[in-house]
C-alpha cells in the first residue's frame, strides 16, 4: 500500500513538473534567470540593504557621529554627503550638532565618552581636524572623504536604480579626489542602468564643463537632461523642481559665458520658475535684457559707420 501511494505521488509530481516548469521559465518574476547573484539571493531586500549602505556612507561622512533611529533625526533627513554634492535637495531642519540632547541619566552621560560626540565632516579634515597634528591640513584638501566610497559602491551594486548613489559618488570622486575618469565611468554605469535619468545626465554635463572644459558637450548633455526632465517629471503631480533648477541654472550660466543672450534669457525663465527666490532671477533677467539690447545695438552702430 505505501509503495503504491509513493508511486502515485511520484507520477503526480512528474505530471505537475511538465506543466509548471514551462510556466516558471516564462514567468517574469523568475529570479533564476537573472545574471545578478545579489538579485537572486536577496530579492527586493537588496533595496533596503542599498539604502542602509547609503546611510552608512553618510555615517562615515560624519566620522561616526550620527543619530540612530531612536534619536532626533530631523537634521539628518537628507544625507549631508548627498546634499553637499547637490545630488539631493536638502530638507534638514533642527540642530545637527546636538541631536542627542542633554544626557537622560548617568549611564547615558557616561556612555557618551565612548562614542563620537562632535559634528564633523570627513572633507573638513576628519575627526581630529582640531588636533595639533592636523593643524596643517587645509580643510578643502582633505581626501579622507574616500572612506565613504566602499559603502556607496556597495549601495550601487545592490540597487542600480538608486540614482543619487551615482551622482553623490561621482561628485566626491571628481571634486575631492581628482578622479574624474573614475567618476565619469561610474556615471556611465549608472546611465546604463537608468537610461532616462536626467540627474545622471546633468552630472555628466558638469564633468564635461568643469573638468573636460568642453562646453559644447556639456550643453548637449544638459539639454538632453532637460528633455528627459520634461518627458518624465513634468507630467508628475509633484515634479522634481530641484533638478530643473540645477539644469536650467547651469544651462543659463553656460549661455551667459558664451554671450548667447536669447538662450540665456530662455533658461533664466526656466530657472525663475523653479527657483525659491524668483526675485533674484528677475534681476538677472533685467540685466540680461540690457546686455542683449547692447549686443544687438553694437553691430548696428558698427554698420552705420562709413
Amino acid at each position: 500500500m505505501p509503495q503504491t501511494a509513493i508511486a502515485i505521488l511520484f507520477l503526480t509530481s512528474l505530471a505537475l513538473v511538465t506543466s509548471l516548469e514551462p510556466w516558471f521559465q516564462s514567468w517574469q518574476g523568475n529570479r533564476a534567470q537573472s545574471a545578478d547573484l545579489l538579485a537572486v539571493l536577496l530579492g527586493d531586500a537588496r533595496r533596503a540593504f542599498a539604502n542602509h549602505f547609503f546611510i552608512k556612507a553618510d555615517v562615515y561622512f560624519h566620522n561616526g557621529y550620527y543619530p540612530s533611529i531612536f534619536d532626533n533625526r530631523t537634521a539628518f533627513q537628507t544625507p549631508h554627503m548627498a546634499a553637499d554634492a547637490g545630488a539631493l535637495e536638502e530638507k534638514n531642519t533642527g540642530e545637527e550638532d546636538d541631536f542627542l540632547g542633554p544626557p537622560k541619566d548617568w549611564i547615558d552621560a557616561f556612555g557618551r565618552r565612548f562614542k563620537p560626540a562632535t559634528h564633523t565632516h570627513l572633507y573638513q579634515g576628519g575627526a581630529r581636524a582640531d588636533g595639533p597634528a592636523h593643524k596643517e591640513i587645509e580643510l578643502a584638501d582633505s581626501q579622507d572623504v574616500r572612506e565613504i566610497l566602499p559603502w556607496l559602491r556597495a549601495s550601487a551594486a545592490l540597487d542600480p536604480q538608486k540614482i543619487e548613489t551615482y551622482t553623490t559618488t561621482a561628485y566626491w570622486l571628481r571634486q575631492r579626489m581628482g578622479k574624474t575618469t573614475e567618476a565619469e565611468a561610474f556615471l556611465r554605469d549608472g546611465l546604463r542602468a537608468n537610461p532616462d535619468s536626467h540627474e545622471i545626465l546633468f552630472e555628466l554635463g558638469r564633468i564635461a564643463d568643469e573638468h573636460g572644459k568642453d562646453p559644447a558637450r556639456a550643453r548637449n548633455l544638459w539639454e538632453l537632461a532637460l528633455a528627459k526632465w520634461r518627458k518624465f517629471e513634468l507630467p508628475k503631480k509633484d515634479p522634481d523642481t530641484f533638478s530643473l533648477l540645477q539644469i536650467a541654472s547651469h544651462l543659463a550660466m553656460l549661455a551667459e559665458r558664451e554671450s548667447r543672450w536669447d538662450e540665456y534669457l530662455h533658461y533664466l525663465g526656466l530657472w525663475k520658475a523653479a527657483s525659491p527666490q524668483p526675485a533674484e532671477i528677475e534681476k538677472r533677467i533685467a540685466e540680461a535684457q540690457a546686455k542683449r539690447a547692447a549686443a544687438n545695438a553694437k553691430p548696428q552702430t558698427q554698420n552705420s559707420k562709413p
Binding site: Y60, D71, I107, D108, P116, E147
Partner: protein, 258 residues
C-alpha cells in the same frame, strides 16, 4: 588561590586544544581579507570599512567564544563525573566557579590578543600608523566586557542543563544589550505606564555591554577615551562580573551535584 589557578590552567589548555578559536580566527581573517580585496575606484588607501568589518567580526567572535566556552564547563564536568572528584578534593564550590571563570576569561584574553594583532596588521597595512593608545583601550575594554558574558554563561549553566540552550539564551541577551541596550531608556520615555517603568528598570539593571564598544572611535580615528573613564568602565565590568559570579556561587552552593 592555587586551586583556582590550577582549574583556570586546565580550562585554558582545553580551549587551546579545541578548534573553536582557530575556526573563528580563520573566518574573521578570511572575511576581512575578502573585503580588503575589493577594488574601491583603484584607491588602496581606503581603510575604515576594513577596520569596521574586522572589528565587528572580532566582537561577534568574542561573544561566541566567551559564551560557548563558559556554557559547557559545568555540564561537561558533570557529564564526565569529574565534578564529583574535583569537589571531593579540597576544592570548594566557590573556588570551582572562580577557577572556571578565570580560565575562560584568560583564554578569551589570549584569543583577543591574536585577533587584535591581526586587526593591527590590517590597519597598519593601509594607514602606515597605529593609534597605540586607542588600540590598547579597545582590547582592554573588550576583554573586561567579555568577563560579563563568561559569568552570565557560567551562571546560566546552573539554571539550564543543556549547554546549547544556555549558549543560545546568553548570546541573545548579550547581542540584545550590545545592539539595543543604550536606547532602552529613550524608548521607555515614550511608552505608557507601567511599561515605561518596567523598561526603565531593565535599563538600569542590565550590564551595559555597549559601553565597551569603542569601535567608532577606533574606526574613525577619534582621540582615545579619557583614561579616568576607561578605568571607570573596567571597574563597571568588574562590579557586574562580581555580582553575577556571586549569584552563580549562591546557586551552585545549594544545588545537589547529581
Amino acid at each position: 588561590m592555587r586551586a583556582i589557578l590550577t582549574l583556570a590552567h586546565l580550562v585554558i589548555l582545553e580551549m587551546v586544544r579545541r578548534k573553536d578559536i582557530y575556526v573563528l580566527f580563520v573566518l574573521t581573517a578570511l572575511l576581512t581579507l575578502i573585503a580588503a580585496a575589493a577594488n574601491i575606484f583603484d584607491d588602496t588607501r581606503v581603510v575604515r570599512y576594513l577596520k569596521e568589518i574586522s572589528l565587528t567580526l572580532i566582537w561577534v567572535s568574542g561573544f561566541v567564544l566567551a559564551v560557548t566556552s563558559a556554557a559547557r564547563q559545568i555540564p561537561a564536568e558533570r557529564e564526565s563525573r569529574t565534578l564529583f572528584t574535583l569537589l571531593a578534593k579540597p576544592v570548594s564550590r566557590w573556588q570551582f566557579i572562580a577557577g572556571k571563570f578565570l580560565g575562560c576569561w584568560l583564554a578569551c584574553g589570549l584569543a583577543l590578543l591574536v585577533f587584535y594583532a591581526f586587526f593591527g596588521a590590517v590597519a597598519l597595512s593601509r594607514e602606515r600608523s597605529l593609534d597605540l593608545a586607542g588600540w590598547a583601550q579597545a582590547i582592554s575594554m573588550h576583554w573586561f566586557m567579555l568577563a560579563v558574558p563568561v559569568a552570565l554563561a557560567l551562571a546560566g549553566s546552573l539554571l539550564w542543563a543543556a549547554p546549547s540552550s544556555n549558549s543560545t539564551l546568553t548570546l541573545v541577551v548579550c547581542f540584545g544589550i550590545w545592539l539595543l541596550g543604550r536606547h532602552l531608556h529613550k524608548v521607555a520615555l515614550g511608552l505608557p505606564e507601567p511599561r515605561a517603568t518596567l523598561l526603565t528598570l531593565v535599563y538600569f539593571i542590565i550590564p551595559h555591554l555597549e559601553l565597551f564598544d569603542i569601535r567608532d572611535l577606533i574606526v574613525h580615528r577619534w582621540p582615545p577615551v579619557p583614561w579616568l573613564f576607561w578605568l571607570g568602565a573596567l571597574l563597571y565590568a568588574a562590579a557586574y562580573t562580581g555580582m553575577i559570579l556571586t549569584g552563580a556561587w549562591l546557586l551552585f552552593r545549594r544545588r545537589p551535584l547529581n
